[in-house]
């Protein structure tokens, strides 16, 4: 059902955890639906110096969370905002169609964390 890449990220997720003094936190999903993602970002000189996640959800939710941290780390805020749900799915060699909507929340989570950062730094 899942690609090898999804399975690889699911079994060895990157950047799991919280950032204690995060500059932005994005929370998306809903435990009632079975997926909840929290993305933490650290920003230095307009770049995402650190990205971490905590996720409650299925294999796809965990793999997309892990992937977004890899895609976003080191990018500028502007570059990170351009990462889409499809980019995440493509980087994982695709997701089963049924998972594209419900569990592919990581890009939304990252964008929410950036919004949070922008709000706080105003």
């Amino acid at each position: 059902m899942y690609s090898e890449k999804v399975m690889e990220h699911f079994s060895n997720p990157r950047n799991v955890g919280e950032i204690e003094d995060a500059d932005g936190i994005g929370e998306v999903g809903n435990p009632v639906c079975g997926d909840l993602m929290t993305i933490f970002i650290k920003v230095d000189d307009g770049r995402l110096s650190d990205v971490k996640f905590k996720t409650f959800g299925c294999g796809a939710a965990i793999a997309t969370s892990s992937m977004i941290t890899e895609l976003a780390k080191g990018k500028t805020i502007e570059e990170a905002l351009e990462i889409t749900r499809d980019d995440v799915a493509d980087s994982l060699d695709g997701l089963p169609p049924v998972k594209m909507h419900c569990s592919n929340l990581a890009a939304d989570g990252l964008h929410a964390a950036i919004e949070d950062y922008k709000k706080k730094s105003k």
Binding site: S11, V32, G34, D35, T55, F56, G59, V98
Partner: protein, 387 residues
Amino acid sequence: MDRIYMDHGATTKPDPEVVNAMLPYYNEFFGNASSLHSTGQDAAKVLNRSREIIADLIGARSDEIIFTSGGTESDNLALKGIAYHKKNAGKHIITSIIEHPAILNTCKYMGETGFSITYVPVDDQGVVNPEDIAAAITDDTILISIMHANNEIGTIQPVKEISKIAHEHDVLMHTDAVQSVGKIPVNVDDLGVDMLSISGHKLYGPKGVGALYVRKGTRLQSLVQGGAHEFGKRAGTENIPGIVGFAKAVELANQRLFEDEKHLTNLRDTMIKKLLDSIPYSYLNGHPTLRLPNNVHIRFNFVEGESLLMMLNMKGVDVSTGSACSSKSLEPSHVLMALGLPPEEIHGNLRITMGRENTMKEVDYVVENLIDIVRKLRAMSPLAPKE
């Protein structure tokens, strides 16, 4: 390492004796049981013998057994067959909200085609209250269908009491016994049912074959028109190899019933105790004692079922989950919802259904790995309390 198969609620591995019993009916004895020549009559003989073996397991007469393609068809035949036959007597059917989709979706279809259906609830352990059945009966009620044991949480229903109520009101009683036959003693007279569904592949038999027990004198309309097979209740040339394998599986189940039941109950209770003792925020779903001897259904808060299943899969263990994420519909299990669990707790469940080949060593292996897996997933979960 060999995989550890603990999804016997889904299907079972056919016993080698079953497969061996079937082979001659592919390779050599290929006759059509309706043919009058010797080749055909050999098939007719084994068909009758198989019917007797299956009837014997459930305390029925052989002419009360109708072979079908499996549990789903048996359920369809019971519900539609009675309803269409009795439609002038009444159009109301009573069932429960935790039935298998083979019953629920048949009822839904019948509800759309002129019948009215009452779905009785269950308590928080998944048990139907016979009083709810009694209260639902009207002058229009023709049939009650309540499963013997639930396929997800393994709860055994008070079918005997419900049959008694049904008959006091002159209503027919069907039970879907697909999950219970072969695992616990099932006797149609003791249960008092008029019809009972069985499936071959849930008891180490082949897929594609099952039976509906229909009590002598109970009339129902055939759903498949054609020849006069199966006492005119189900047309089509009989699946002789499948039926032979089904009968062999039933014969073995009959011989091993008490041994299997004792073995499985021991594995089940050990696994439940070890999991609940060693994993905080874990709970047993269903009834502690009124449950199938092979069914462990556990809820682990703050983690999601598909993740649990996949991590166990990577450790070589096959189980299943009622999690929404694992279903094609993305709807969580209707059975777990019926228990009244809060929505966020419906997602982190595992159904572990053991079989006669499972061992205590395998139980220990699964428990040890689940402890690690739940810890790993909770460390990732934003919902879990910090350790």
